[in-house]
């Protein structure tokens, strides 16, 4: 694998995470539990899609084949998407959505803080820009985890169930392979193993306040980075890709 290929894949992975999560959260549009949360979730979705656009613009530049970002976002096959399994999981309920978001926000914040130092100026600029948004997202999801966890019996039971179900996708956040090794060597990308502990500590701190517990010894899933997904991604893609496939090259 050349440096160029590795860096391209690395950027696409980062972009796929925010694309798929942004699309997933946008399903709440018009269905939020309260109006303010409907607006909050769609705002977060919009930020994530915006971050994706910036990342994909960088990816197509690296690739240098003159591709359009829409091609990358909408016209790949399921196995060509390299997002984390966590972000493609269904919304289920508000508590589940918040727990998924919280796990992701902590991870994304640590990743992008480190990426501000990337040896690639453009990636560093995207990280710096995105980080300002991610901090708002993290505050939002953390506060909701605490409100719901330390809330009523019903809300506690539901978010604890979400934690129990989603925990098995958290190890994958720190998955690394030859793509990562290459970009880490060159200072382009970041070594996520350096902040695995920080991630865990942050989660535990919020969970303590939220009276939530981390399940012991759960089997951990991975595969997203190599294009092996859970069944949920296919349904999401068929909805997301419908317009581009039905009306090729359409623009809004």
């Amino acid at each position: 694998m050349t440096t160029q290929e590795a860096f391209y894949n690395y950027i696409v992975r980062l972009g796929d995470d925010s694309l798929i999560l942004g699309q997933r959260i946008s399903e709440w549009c018009g269905h939020g539990p309260i109006l303010e949360e409907d607006i909050a979730l769609t705002n977060i979705a919009l930020d994530l899609i915006g971050q994706t656009t910036n990342l994909f613009e960088l990816a197509v530049q690296i690739e240098g084949k003159g591709k359009d970002v829409d091609q990358l976002a909408f016209l790949r096959l399921e196995k060509e998407y390299t997002n984390l399994l966590l972000v493609e999981q269904p919304n289920v309920d508000f508590g589940y959505t918040i727990v998924r978001q919280f796990f992701f926000d902590v991870f994304r914040k640590l990743t992008f803080e480190a990426l501000c130092q990337s040896s690639d100026e453009k990636l560093a600029a995207i990280a710096e820009k995105s980080l300002k948004e991610i901090k708002y997202h993290l505050k939002h999801s953390s506060e909701w985890v605490i409100r719901l966890g330390d809330g009523t019996e019903e809300s506690h039971t539901r978010v604890q169930a979400a934690v129990n179900t989603l925990w098995k996708f958290t190890n994958e956040l720190f998955y690394q392979d030859e793509v990562d090794q290459k970009v880490i060597e060159l200072g382009l990308g970041v070594d996520t193993s350096l902040f695995k502990e920080a991630w865990q500590l942050h989660v535990e701190k919020v969970f303590t306040e939220a009276t939530l517990t981390i399940p012991a010894n759960t089997w951990q899933h991975e595969g997203g980075r190599k294009g092996t997904h859970t069944e949920h991604l296919g349904y999401l893609l068929s909805e997301m890709q419908y317009m581009q496939r039905a009306y090729q090259n359409m623009e809004w």
């Binding site: 909050a40 919009l46 915006g50 971050q51 656009t53 710096e128 820009k129 506060e143 919020v206």
Partner: protein
């Protein structure tokens, strides 16, 4: 011969489609204007990554300037836009329009931190309450005045 100063003045006519009272110059998203060989390059930066107004703003700039000079619009992300880029003039216009301008920084790392005290743009009372950190557009939060009871938008601080 058009000068860069002329272009800056022209750009005052373009408003942010989501907050029509603010020009893109007031908002601080025009970074540079440079004229070279009868061509003008305007560099702008987004407020938020997903700001849907950027495309419209780009088209507006081209539409406005191209009868005078060949114009290209370029986008830059660095240094990232913060609310400090907004002009004093812009802040006053926002307040008159009924949107509270950005105050000092909220510490986003402190959970349940007391939200920033934002005076009501209608009655000036500082007896107000944050309803939601996320408002009608990416750049705004949602507040309510506890004296005159009016809900209002707050152009939230981004740093």
């Amino acid at each position: 011969m058009v000068t860069e100063k002329d272009i800056w003045e022209h750009l005052e006519q373009i408003s942010d489609p989501e907050i029509p009272v603010l020009s893109i110059v007031d908002l601080g998203i025009v970074r540079t204007v440079s004229i070279t060989d009868d061509c003008c390059i305007v560099t702008i930066t987004p407020t938020y990554s997903g700001c849907p107004a950027m495309n419209v703003i780009q088209e507006d700039i081209i539409k406005l300037l191209s009868p005078t000079i060949d114009t290209k619009v370029e986008m830059t992300l660095s240094p990232a836009w913060t609310t400090d880029w907004m002009s004093e003039n812009g802040r006053n216009k926002l307040r008159e329009y009924g949107i509270a301008p950005p105050e000092h920084e909220v510490d986003k790392s402190v959970l349940f931190a007391k939200p920033t005290v934002v005076p009501c743009p209608k009655c000036k009372s500082s007896h107000t309450k944050m309803i939601s950190q996320f408002g009608s557009t990416a750049c705004k939060a949602h507040y309510q005045c506890l004296d005159c009871l009016e809900p209002f938008d707050y152009f939230k601080c981004l740093k």
